[in-house]
């Protein structure tokens, strides 16, 4: 059993405490926007926010969490898909297959929350997600564009 605070709601989940947050989100809570890509924190497809920081949910056991830790998933990033990063992504047609993009958006939103005007070097250091389709240059433009929307 785990008590989690997900997208502003406290929920109790019947689950082995060693289960990674990713699978609780996807299988117990029906929040499938957060994706499985590697299971070893390499690809970032599972990126969510925990207390505002980008975290790879595939290696985070729910035993490490409690209701005091605010988890935000792609479904909770904005009520209507209008977070500045989502707006920028829409304007630039960033996604290709889209599978990694929830993680990419969550990583970008966390970067901007801590650094509202990231340089290219900041983006290089802060965004380490894998995208096999190759959307990186639009991701970079998208982060810069989102920064102008936040300002």
């Amino acid at each position: 059993m785990a008590r989690l605070n997900v997208n502003g709601k406290v929920v109790d989940v019947e689950v082995d405490p060693s289960t990674p947050l990713l699978w609780v989100l996807r299988e117990q809570l029906g929040l499938t926007g957060t994706k499985y890509g590697c299971g070893i924190a390499q690809c970032g497809s599972c990126t969510v926010h925990v207390d505002g920081a980008a975290v790879r949910a595939c290696v985070l056991p729910v035993s490490a969490l409690d209701e005091s830790k605010a988890i935000v998933t792609i479904e909770g990033l904005s009520p209507d898909g209008t977070h500045p990063v989502q707006q920028a992504w829409l304007e630039l047609d960033v996604p290709q297959c889209g599978y990694c993009q929830a993680g990419m958006i969550m990583a970008s939103a966390a970067l901007l929350a801590s650094n509202p005007r990231p340089s290219d070097a900041d983006i290089d250091a802060g965004i380490t997600n894998i995208c096999r389709c190759g959307t990186f240059n639009r991701v970079r433009r998208g982060i810069h564009l989102a920064a102008t929307k936040i300002a």
Binding site: G37, Q96, C97, I105, A125, I130, F136, R140
Partner: protein
């Protein structure tokens, strides 16, 4: 000679489908697709197979090919909408199912989505579908008004009777139009009349990808569904020997331990995490079969035999190397090699199946719905009329999900052991890495002869290595030869060599390994362009001629390839200083019917660290449907091509693949991504592909630049094994 088979549909398979359809065997269609793609049966407002118009003027355009990120959904809709003259803002799309295609005499044609064929392979008939629907809508309006159809025109979903100015929207006449006979013939617009084709419109499938709403195969949830994890024998060709199900049946959530055919074990549980946890704990021993001692070293030696001599298939030949030798003043020889690689789609292989004695349904990401249907039918033990496949957006395809539906067959095999319960099978990343259909491994020896003026007179390319067709579609071999092996080196067609050499011989010594090969985005141009384009630079250096000028001399008969090469050279500033420590490299190729070139700018620091600063890339695909999506594909091709060049390698030990996840099989990240300048230069008159060609020029342009920066020729990929500066 120049025909490259479409991926995924075998001749026998196609024959089977056509026969089935022709026999007119109807079947009930059980549509329960839990996403935006609604049922696609002949509804009252279906104008024709491609176009449905609802009373509220919503336009539904049917898309037979699969969307996997390449933008084909949007591009194909643009083609239909151009002729339909509908309001683009009212367009939505849906997939017909493969079962419906069978039932309707293959009205949607080929579902195969590979070989960069989505647009070029269907542009003619989908545009005709749009034009026929427009004519029917106009006729319906004209009949209602009792005026000649020729006095009416359509634009933005509104039909106007031009003499009177009367108007009516498509939605108002759609039901009447649907009852009319289709026109016997339609005339397509000339390219000069296009208003939507060629426009950089936004993709139609973006919004749900930004909010987590887009449902991929891994996200599917059906009522009562169970989840399965699987592990197949890691040695290709091996089998399950023993297992001890009792050790895991009491673990949380476990419902059943099942053997899948004779090659794999699966655990079915309430959740996938439970299934995977139990599978990891399941004792299994394997009968590893005859390949358990194969290694990368033994495969390398096997390929070396093919380079050394003996029989080979000829892919291209002109002139006479022996006669040309008389003119040769200088000979250059080099051996190159290219490793196995995994597609590594971000979404691992997966499929959901529901089996009963009467019916089998599958929900899956697939690049070829009809091939998935064939796999489902075979695994289900049910005729194709009692099966169907519901396609979902792919989390990447890259060729892995086109010709190979092993994951579909497995899901059905598992579901068949739990009748009436839907089971979702998801591969772990480790399973995905271990059970790939790998980029073929090859080596090549290139021998070039220069005359005393530095002109290339002799070129001999001997390739040794795997044939994809021999493993995947042996019926497509021609007298044993695999023409696809010669992509980029053929005498003519979509993958013609871009040079004219007086005496040329291109051969393939086929050396097939137990590691299964597959179509991998770009297929055989990936290594053939590296071999050819890097060797061209070696020859140019030996001749003492500038690399661009050396190529120009051989390209007089290849003006479109030369044009893209000149375009990148011009924009990159070839021949002018590139900046401190920065060096340039060129590459050009014809692939999938398009002409592409790249000029890369790189630097290598004192420690040997490579930085790719900038790539100028040009594409001439004949006609362009959506230039901003062409740009996206070109940029993405550099990620795929440079990931392969830098890191992509699957090695073999004890008969199995060593690399198990992204920590051992890295992929390019944003910090390594160069600036890419895309030149889209459609010359008209033909339709070339876009999703794959640019991969061909990514690696050789960078490798040629690396040589200029360091003096190091990298001939054996990936780059991670090479020190670019002496320590």
């Amino acid at each position: 000679m120049n025909h490259v088979p479409e991926q995924g549909v075998t001749v026998s398979r196609r024959g089977f489908l056509v026969t089935t359809a022709a026999a007119g065997l109807g079947f009930s269609l059980g549509f329960r697709i839990p996403d935006a793609h609604a049922a696609a049966q002949a509804a009252a407002d279906e104008i024709n197979a491609w176009v449905v118009i609802h009373p509220d003027d919503t336009v539904v355009i049917r898309i037979a090919r699969s969307e996997m990120g390449q933008g084909t959904l949007t591009g194909l809709a643009q083609l239909v909408a151009e002729e339909l003259e509908c309001d683009w803002s009212k367009v939505t799309t849906e997939y017909p199912t493969p079962g419906q295609n069978v039932a309707r005499d293959r009205v949607w044609g080929d579902f195969s989505t590979g070989g960069s064929r989505g647009i070029r392979g269907s542009q003619d008939y989908v545009r005709k579908g749009g034009a026929a629907a427009r004519e029917m809508l106009i006729r319906a309006a004209a009949e209602a008004w009792q005026v000649p159809p020729a006095e009416c025109s359509a634009r933005d979903s509104v039909i106007t009777h031009n003499p009177s100015g009367r108007t009516v929207s498509f939605g108002k006449v759609a039901a009447a139009a649907a009852k009319l006979a289709p026109p016997a013939e339609v005339t397509l617009k000339a390219p000069s009349e296009w208003r939507l084709i060629g426009q950089p419109v936004k993709r139609l499938d973006t919004v749900d990808k930004l909010t987590g709403k887009q449902i991929y195969g891994t996200d599917l949830k059906l009522p009562g569904m169970l989840n399965a994890a699987i592990r197949a024998c890691p040695v290709f060709g091996g089998k399950v020997a023993t297992f001890d199900a009792a050790k895991v049946t009491a673990l949380p959530g476990v419902r059943k331990v099942v053997q899948v055919d004779d090659t794999a074990m699966a655990v079915v549980a309430d959740t996938w995490w439970q299934a995977k946890t139990a599978l990891d704990a399941l004792p299994v021993t394997w009968d590893e079969g005859p390949n358990k001692d194969v290694s990368s070293e033994s495969i390398s030696a096997f390929l070396d035999e093919g380079l050394a001599g003996g029989n080979a298939f000829t892919g291209n030949s002109n002139g006479d190397l022996a006669a040309g030798q008389a003119e040769v003043a200088k000979t250059v020889e080099a051996v190159y090699s290219y490793p196995f690689q995994n597609h590594a789609t971000m979404e691992p292989m997966n499929a959901t199946a529901l089996w009963t004695e009467q019916k089998c349904e599958v929900w899956c990401p697939t690049q070829n719905g009809e091939a998935a249907l064939a796999a489902a039918s075979a695994a289900a033990g049910l005729p194709v009329e009692q099966c169907d496949v519901h396609k979902l957006h792919l989390g990447g395809g890259f060729g892995r999900r086109g010709a190979f539906h092993d994951y579909v067959a497995q899901a059905v095999s598992i579901a068949k052991q739990i009748p009436g319960t839907p089971v979702k099978l998801v591969w772990s990343r480790e399973e995905d890495m271990a059970q790939g259909r790998y980029h073929p491994i090859t080596k090549a020896r290139l021998t070039g002869g220069l005359d005393r003026d530095g002109n290339l007179v002799n070129l001999h390319v001997r390739i040794s290595g795997q044939s994809i067709l021999a493993a995947v579609m042996p019926a497509r071999l021609k007298d044993g030869a695999d023409v696809v092996t010669f992509q980029g080196l053929l005498p003519e067609g979509d993958h013609a060599i871009s040079y004219t050499v007086p005496n040329l011989l291109v051969e393939h010594a086929m050396r097939n390994t137990h590691v299964p090969p597959g179509f991998w985005r770009g297929v055989n141009i990936n290594q053939n362009a590296i071999y050819t384009e890097c060797f061209m630079d070696e020859l140019a250096e030996a001749a003492g001629v500038d690399a661009l000028e050396f190529r120009r001399r051989l390209m007089a008969n290849h003006p479109k390839s030369l044009a893209v090469l000149e375009a990148v050279a011009r924009q990159a500033g070839w021949g002018t200083p590139a900046g401190d420590g920065i060096h340039r490299g060129l590459a050009v190729c014809k692939a999938f019917g398009s002409h592409i070139a790249a000029c890369a700018e790189v630097s290598v620091d004192g420690a040997g660290k490579l930085t790719v600063h900038r790539i100028v890339a040009a594409t001439d695909p004949g006609h362009v449907v959506n230039p901003q999506q062409v740009e996206a594909q070109v940029e993405g091709s550099f990620v795929y091509g440079l990931s392969a060049m830098l890191y992509g390698e699957c090695t073999v030990k004890d008969g199995r693949i060593v690399e198990s996840n992204f920590h051992q099989y890295p992929s390019l990240r944003i910090a390594e991504m160069p600036k890419v300048e895309v030149i889209v230069m459609p010359s008209g008159g033909f339709w070339g592909g876009v999703g794959e060609p640019t991969i061909a020029v990514a690696a050789p342009a960078v490798l040629n630049a690396i040589y200029r920066a360091t003096g190091t020729r990298v001939r054996h990929l990936p780059l991670k094994h090479h020190k670019l500066r002496a320590a």
